[in-house]
Homo-oligomer: 362 residues x 2
DNA sequence: CTTTAGCACTCGGAAGACGAGAGTGCCAGC
DNA sequence: GCTGGCACTCTCGTCTTCCGAGTGCTAAAG
């Protein structure tokens, strides 16, 4: 059934007002603020119908109306006006992003913090899982008991490991192994590195000291790690400032759920497509998030990878403001990280590098 | 003034009972449980004196007694019996630590999670800040537009960075720079890398493309990062389950304070010396932690570095159990990481390596 | 001098009573 | 179909009352 234009206006007014005040909104308020030329009694009739249709809910008989998840969904899909950021806001975001360019390696987590601060909600950042292969090996001989493994992955991150040996090796042996690994292991994904291959390499290297298996183990672990994706949350505690999370138990449930990166990585699967995804309450696959909403924006992380940046908050989230901010941040990140044309100076160049070889754990 | 043996027993009983129940404890309870052969009236007299001396507090005139910070301090220093872990507990910890050996790089944060789970409080891990120098440079030529910087630091961690260039370089140029940096920059700390040195190197390398400054900037940033130390917190939300943090605002203050690693790094300065440090409420330098307690154990992280692992909780913390658990975990970490004799097999060797080159951000 | 029993007193917290206020549903009239 | 009016409902804050735990004090006993 189609909803009349007036009903839409009223629904939008209820959602806007409720987002602002966190209080159930009554007919009188709407009659005064929404600027429709009709009285509160008329609004009441409309409200009753919207309630019957499932877009609104009543906490109790004589309270105002509160949007239902269905109401929020309708609001997000059709009513919400795409909020424009003010010039000050965009400038502030740009300034922060540019400032962060100085600290390249922390860009992702810092972008999360930025999102959290701007929106006032806990922020999460996800990097899409992706099967990687090793593009190139280097073994650096340090001294007779020490060498470094450096691996350049197909997603252009660099991983390394310092290995101390309880016995001595010669530089030549290290170089030989380096060549053999470059010849035999590059371009392979985790599954393709078989025990057969490893033992063949071991024989070819005349390696009787287990070096081959150390390097292979490092490779396998590195590849499996890169395939898991990475996820972090910042600002969890800001959830406590939301009226709907004043109940410590409720807040604890959500926060501890978010603290497990396993959970986070499964989160996006619940979302729709598009540049900004909104997951409203019960739409969440996870039981623990059934009365929270998640808004995520996707950005181009370069090298064909995409990342997600988002926030978690109560159903009563300021969807339009949050979506606008996240989208702007995501665009900024895409610009900084993505595969477009290089900006002037070293910015782009440096940003594609990475001081760290690996992502932080959560 | 010296406190009588009976007063000590009574004080210990109050603290133990209050830790257990989180309720003010009355004279009757103590008379029944503490097993001193005297009546509640006698206890009352003693309690009144202990209160006058500042070891106990009364929430209001006709409530039981609650330990004051001074009382906790006395308890921790003199009364608390060093709790022994049960065999099951030590075995569980050992199992977890050994299991974690498989995932070497996450050992520190995982140890924090272990501590958090065992104690039920938010856990923090700190690695002591320490000025590092670069022990060795390697520049790996990947292709005409790309090279990798690998730096082995004096604390035996490896850092790296992938650099994309908007112009071409030759392999020889990269090799020359590598040699120059090894000659000129190894052994220097952050302060010793001066603009003069950098421009001298730039001239020596006949570098007109700014490569030198890129490498120098990476070096300086890496060293400054390693000097900052690292800090992470896990399980913040478990604080919400403590009765004294049911107030979301109070919990929020503490958690958001803990979320800033700057703050965490300054934390230990408030503590005493010894293998397990206890900082009780107002003893904390930080205003935000004035009604929280911090217990930290120190461990040998190898290479002359020490790390800290600890938990944050309410004043009413189960100090003896927490201290015992933390100490046991710290001992386990020292065993795994520290400079003792190598255990059988590859365990030690691998553990001293590091899949990641850098510490996670918080 | 210390310990004990007894007792009046105090105070916080739970439970109930009550009024105010906000908001609804419905109806009759325009 | 809209509007004003009105009775009704339900929550919330406040106030009162009541109960009990625990105290401090005193006087007697050891």
């Amino acid at each position: 059934m189609e909803i009349s234009a007036r009903k839409k206006k009223i629904l939008a007014a209820v959602v806007d007002e409720y987002i602002r005040t966190a209080e159930p909104v009554g007919s009188k308020t709407i009659a005064e603020t929404a600027g429709l030329g009709c009285s509160s009694a008329t609004i009441r009739n409309e409200l009753a119908e919207l309630t019957a249709l499932g877009y609104l809910e009543q906490p109790h008989t004589s309270a105002g109306r509160v949007p239902s998840p269905k109401g929020y969904r309708f609001y997000v899909n059709e009513l919400m006006e795409r909020q424009k950021l003010s010039v000050e806001e965009t400038e502030a975001i740009n300034a922060r992003l540019n400032e962060k360019m100085e600290q390249l390696d922390r860009l992702m987590t810092d972008a999360g913090k930025l999102a959290g601060q701007l929106t006032g909600y806990p922020a999460l950042t996800l990097s899409a899982p992706r099967a990687a292969a090793v593009k190139r090996f280097d073994l650096l001989y340090v001294d007779a008991n020490t060498f470094i493994i450096v691996a350049l992955l197909s997603n252009n991150t660099v991983k390394n490991k310092l290995v101390h040996l309880p016995f001595s090796v010669e530089q030549g042996q290290i170089q030989k192994l380096s060549a053999l690994f470059n010849a035999g292991f590059t371009g392979l994904t985790e599954e393709e590195i078989t025990p057969v291959l490893i033992s063949a390499t071991e024989r070819a290297a005349r390696d009787t000291m287990g070096l081959t298996s150390i390097i292979a183990a490092f490779t396998i672990e590195t590849l499996s790690r890169s395939r898991e994706g990475a996820a972090y949350v910042t600002g969890e505690s800001s959830l406590l400032q939301q009226p709907e999370f004043r109940d410590p138990d409720k807040a604890h449930r959500v926060i501890s759920y978010l603290s497990d990166s396993e959970h986070l990585l499964r989160l996006p699967s619940g979302g729709g497509q598009g540049d900004v995804r909104v997951i409203i309450g019960p739409e969440n696959l996870a039981e623990e998030l059934r009365d929270s909403s998640v808004v995520m924006a996707s950005y181009d992380a370069g090298e064909g990878q995409r990342g997600l940046i988002g926030v978690v908050g109560p159903l009563r989230m300021d969807y339009s403001a949050v979506a606008a901010k996240l989208q702007y941040i995501a665009e900024g990140l895409s610009r900084l990280l993505g595969g477009g044309e290089a900006p002037a100076g070293f910015g782009k160049m440096i940003l594609k590098g990475d001081v760290k070889s690996d992502e932080p754990d959560e």
